[in-house]
């Protein structure tokens, strides 16, 4: 069984936010009204985090970091879920079961990365957006928690396709939308257990680190430090 992981090279990342947009479209993430967005209810599975500001205005050099779900190997969200609405798959992906979620938001309170987003209400989406809905991903109702799933629907499609073609799943068959769209190829994705894979090599690079690793969550999304 593979163990899917991701490595994001901050040296290559230009903070263009293509991954943020691609993720939002791919996963039918709700677009909220301007008021709600102002009140901190904007919904992103992939988010560009500003880690620190270097220099003084106007010569600011912000250090940013694209942050999706860390797909922890020891996820604190699963521990506290009262109804098994979130669970870890055998391939290490932390998945959500939207019809099971009761909306207690305990997982949100316990995620050290503040990754989970909640459907505070369900607003009517613009017509153009509704036409663009990805049919492979369910549209979440109001009152449930959601988060990045490593585009797990793509894995399902890829493995079914491989099965139909009577072959094993090849490394490049399944990649999440953010990986696919990144114009500079900053995000590598694949099987962490396969020591020859690009992602596995990158995760063992001297520049590699995990966000808040010290908490023991064992994140499967790792970063490569930017070189000054």
């Amino acid at each position: 069984m593979p163990k899917y992981g991701m490595v994001i090279d901050l040296n290559k990342c230009t903070s263009c936010q293509a991954c943020v947009t691609a993720c939002k479209v791919e996963n039918n993430v709700q677009i909220v009204s301007e008021d709600d967005a102002q009140n901190g209810r904007a919904m992103f599975w992939m988010k560009m985090l500003t880690m620190e500001f270097d220099g003084d205005y106007p010569n600011i050099k912000p250090k940013t970091l694209p942050r999706n779900c860390m797909q922890c190997d020891e996820p604190s969200c699963i521990k506290v879920c009262p109804v098994r609405a979130t669970y870890k798959r055998d391939d290490g992906i932390v998945a959500q079961i939207y019809p099971q979620c009761i909306g207690c938001r305990y997982c949100m309170a316990n995620c050290p990365y503040t990754v989970k987003v909640f459907n505070w209400d369900r607003e009517e989406q613009p017509k153009e957006i509704e036409k663009l809905y990805n049919p492979d991903v369910s549209v979440r109702p109001k009152g449930v928690v959601e988060k990045c799933t490593f585009c797990v629907h793509r894995l399902q499609i890829a493995s079914e396709k491989a099965k139909a073609e009577h072959r094993e799943l090849a490394p490049g068959d399944y990649v999440p939308a953010c990986v696919e769209v990144c114009p500079v190829g900053a995000i590598s994705f694949g099987d962490l257990d396969d020591r020859k894979s690009e992602v596995s090599k990158a995760s063992r690079d001297y520049r590699a680190f995990g966000l808040l690793e010290e908490l023991g969550t064992v994140p499967k999304v790792r970063y490569l430090n930017a070189i000054e």
Binding site: D36, N39, G40, R41, A42, L49, T50, M51, E52, R67, S76, K79, V80, C81, P82, V83, R84, A85, Q100, C101, I102, G103, C104, R105, Y106, M108, A109, N110, P112, Y113, T114, V117, F118, N119, W120, D121, R122, P141, K142, G143, V144, V145, L211, L212, L215, T217
Partner: protein, 454 residues
């Protein structure tokens, strides 16, 4: 002595059941209106989703959870205090225990509903039964609150049986109800013995259950990895806070009903003085816990913890924090340690301060941690919406309404315990007192000497 002879002596305690003033109805109507408004708010939220609240990201738990912890805290007034006072044979408990237990029952029902109000999908509540995970602290909480509710209702009911029998024997309204609830109690010695035995078992059982309830509520927060929550002290800290707010709420209720129903002869200044002393002790204990909690955080100086710490001490929640310190420490300690201010009005002021302060304490524990996540997100904001305030008001008025309803059905001060106190305690206490004294060895000798004196 049979029950029929005992009636008129404590007539004042029966009166609220049979006589209702007009202002009572006015209050009921006003409170019902407030309550219905809250219900309307909830229906709105049901249709609109939790977007009707002021919650957002990262402040994903707010008013409802604050009220939940607050109400459950108040519920510790009752059963725990009454059990401890009974267990320690404090004679002055007699007119207090019933009211304390009623507070527990009502507030627990209201508080227990708050997590359900807080759910995004209350229609899926059955998933808890179908596919619940006992590993989640929310399930521990569900279990312990249910156990506590069951235990405290039984603990309220069993000591009330003799009083219900008194009401039954009086005749008058709701005969059949009292007949059913009295369980055929006639006051025979064997019945009394059975009842006492049950009360003894219950009061010993209720204490650990009560402690567990608030410890587990603290663990909902303590079990997470979040700065400001992940603390070993949280269990006992919450229990102390719960007892603290509980005593204060009890004092307020006692003073109010003393005034309305003219219980001055039963709830005397001495009762309030003793409760005031208890409040003072718990106040100092609470202060000690708070100090210990924040000093270790400050000394450790972990960056994530310090963000939360500074947000409370000097940031957005500083006004609330310092108001809490004033209400929970300065105000009660100043009032209650000074003989001149330790009067009934003074104790009332201190108690109101403490209840307010303890609500703020829950707010300060819950929101700053959520508003300051570990990663560098912008600091969260939270402003409660009308819906949330409406539901809180509904909870408060449901509490008062419940209390008023209870006062029309059952005596608010235990009548048989008052009578028992009058008949037996003087003797019993003097025997006990002699036993404490040096030079007295055998119980029988003490008994004889007391009898000779009487």
């Amino acid at each position: 002595m049979s029950y029929q002879d005992l009636h008129d002596e404590d007539e004042a305690l029966f009166r609220p059941i049979y006589e209702t003033s007009r202002s009572f109805y006015v209050v009921v109507i006003v409170l019902t209106a407030v309550f219905l408004f809250g219900v309307g708010c909830y229906i709105h939220q049901l249709f609109y989703g939790l977007g009707a609240t002021g919650m957002n990201e990262p402040v994903s738990w707010a008013f409802y959870i604050v009220d939940f912890v607050f109400f459950i805290g108040i519920s510790h007034a009752g059963t725990l205090i009454s059990a401890i006072l009974r267990l320690s044979k404090a004679e002055w408990r007699r007119p207090i225990t019933r009211m304390a237990e009623v507070i527990t029952g009502i507030v627990l029902a209201i508080g227990g509903l708050h997590p359900v109000i807080d759910l995004g999908r209350p229609d899926r509540i059955l998933h808890l039964f179908e596919r619940g995970r006992l590993q989640s602290p929310l399930l521990w909480d569900l279990t312990s609150v249910t156990a506590y509710f069951t235990a405290s209702t039984i603990y309220l009911y069993v000591p009330m049986i003799p009083d219900i029998a008194l009401l039954r024997d009086r005749g008058g309204k709701l005969q059949n109800l009292y007949r059913i609830l009295a369980w055929g109690y006639k006051g025979t010695p064997k019945q009394k013995h059975a009842l006492e035995r049950a009360i003894n078992i219950l009061m010993v059982m209720v204490i650990p259950i009560a402690v567990s309830v608030h410890t587990i509520i603290a663990w909902i927060f303590g079990m997470t990895l979040q700065p400001g929550w992940h603390s070993t002290i949280f269990g006992p800290y919450f229990v102390v806070g719960a007892i603290y707010s509980g005593i204060a709420a009890l004092v307020i209720v006692m003073i109010v009903f003393r005034k309305i129903f003219h219980f001055e002869d039963y709830l005397k200044e001495i009762h309030f003085k003793y409760l005031g002393t208890l409040l003072l002790v718990v106040s100092l204990l609470w202060t000690y816990f708070t100090f210990a909690e924040y000093l270790t955080t400050f000394y450790g100086h972990e960056p994530a913890e310090m963000r939360v710490f500074l947000y409370k001490f000097a940031g957005g929640y500083a006004p609330f924090f310092w108001l809490m310190v004033f209400c929970n420490f300065l105000l009660p300690v100043i009032i209650l340690s000074n003989k001149k201010t330790k009067t009934i009005p003074g104790i009332l002021v201190a108690s109101i301060g403490v209840v307010l302060g303890m609500w703020l304490e829950r707010l300060i524990i819950i929101i700053p941690t959520l508003a300051n996540p570990r990663l560098p997100y912008p600091t969260g904001i939270y402003i409660p919406s009308v819906t949330e305030i409406g539901i809180f008001a509904a909870g408060m008025s449901a509490f008062i309404l419940g209390f008023m309803g209870f006062s029309k059905l059952f005596p608010l001060i235990s009548i048989w315990e008052t009578k028992e106190g009058r008949q037996h305690s003087v003797h019993e206490v003097s025997v006990r007192l002699r036993e404490y004294l040096p030079g007295q060895r055998e119980e029988s000798g003490v008994e004889a000497s007391v009898k000779a004196e009487l």
